[in-house]
Symmetry: C2
Subunit: 187 residues, 2 copies
């Protein structure tokens, strides 16, 4: 089975090394990891803008995979990377298994409060809101409830691992996700 | 046609008033707006946790709609609200029209640079990276390329409107999205 490896590692200078490491974890379990930067079959039309070809390639990759593992480690804000979250929603709608991991142990509420700083304020009736009166989710989840909910609805797991110091490269929680997928043949 | 109204307005204290205003814009075009807080048919199982019932309700809402309009105004960081982005990916995978709007005129790159502040630094070969060496997208888009790409792939529009001061309630860009959908009967 092919497994789509969604995550913001694509933005790292050593993205291809991380891709190779993730693929090795998959291969040891008899699975084929598919990284967003892999060459897609078929190649998107050359006349489309570069960014659109990346989009079309990633959509084709996802459609070609039987499962998705998302790196949901918070990225430039309290939530996961937007591209990764998009891809999680896409695969969930296809009805295939979705799993996720986060190398941050803190709950979404605590992260959002830390992000907002002095703008976070308690509501008279309990709960928290931001400086514009917009509520903070307080469900003890890893991220926005659509993310945790999708993984739960798909029967997946959301592995949380306190590895902030090496959060873009630590693969312990990723490996736990891989182990939850049915093992494939060893080729 | 039913149209799912994705966006972080659900977190506002006057969410239901905004929902009503958006539904009026839809109704004037012969469409039925469906807000995430609307009662879903069928109701999710009462024994599931509250947050899971919200997830299941929103998924059922999206499946029941023929199109989705996402409020992609940046939310607690440079990108759109994670739940909204998830729903955009979900609907795109169903193959139905997706449209979006943002009440911020600045490009994604400029917003990300402003978010990072002194942590944003130019790369020797051009482009920008953050304090961890992770690249910044620089395609002149409204958000992460998966968001702009999905809307383009679906033949939708991403309306951008400089309305920062009233960005959670200004419906001009939303109305432009509604106008791009086929008009329905007036009941």
């Amino acid at each position: 089975m092919r497994v789509y490896l969604a995550g913001p590692e694509v933005f790292l200078p050593d993205a291809l090394e991380i891709a190779a490491a993730k693929k090795r974890v998959c291969a040891a379990h008899g699975l084929e990891g598919v990284f967003p930067l892999d060459a897609p079959p078929p190649l998107p039309p050359a006349e489309r803008p570069y960014w659109m070809r990346i989009y079309l390639a990633n959509e084709a990759h996802i459609r070609s995979c039987g499962a998705l593992i998302a790196n949901l480690t918070p990225f430039r804000g309290p939530s996961a990377d937007a591209g990764t979250v998009f891809e999680l929603g896409f695969m969930r709608a296809l009805g295939r298994p979705v799993l996720g991991y986060s190398n941050t142990a803190a709950d979404f509420l605590d992260r959002t409060r830390a992000f907002l700083g002095a703008d976070a304020r308690p509501r008279p009736d309990g709960g928290w809101e931001d400086g514009e009166g917009m509520g903070l989710e307080d469900f003890g989840l890893a991220d926005n409830l659509m993310i945790d909910g999708a993984i739960a609805a798909a029967g997946g797991v959301l592995e949380r691992h306190a590895a902030e110091a090496d959060r873009w490269r630590d693969l312990a929680a990723f490996a736990r996700c891989v182990a939850r997928l049915p093992a494939g043949g060893r080729g």
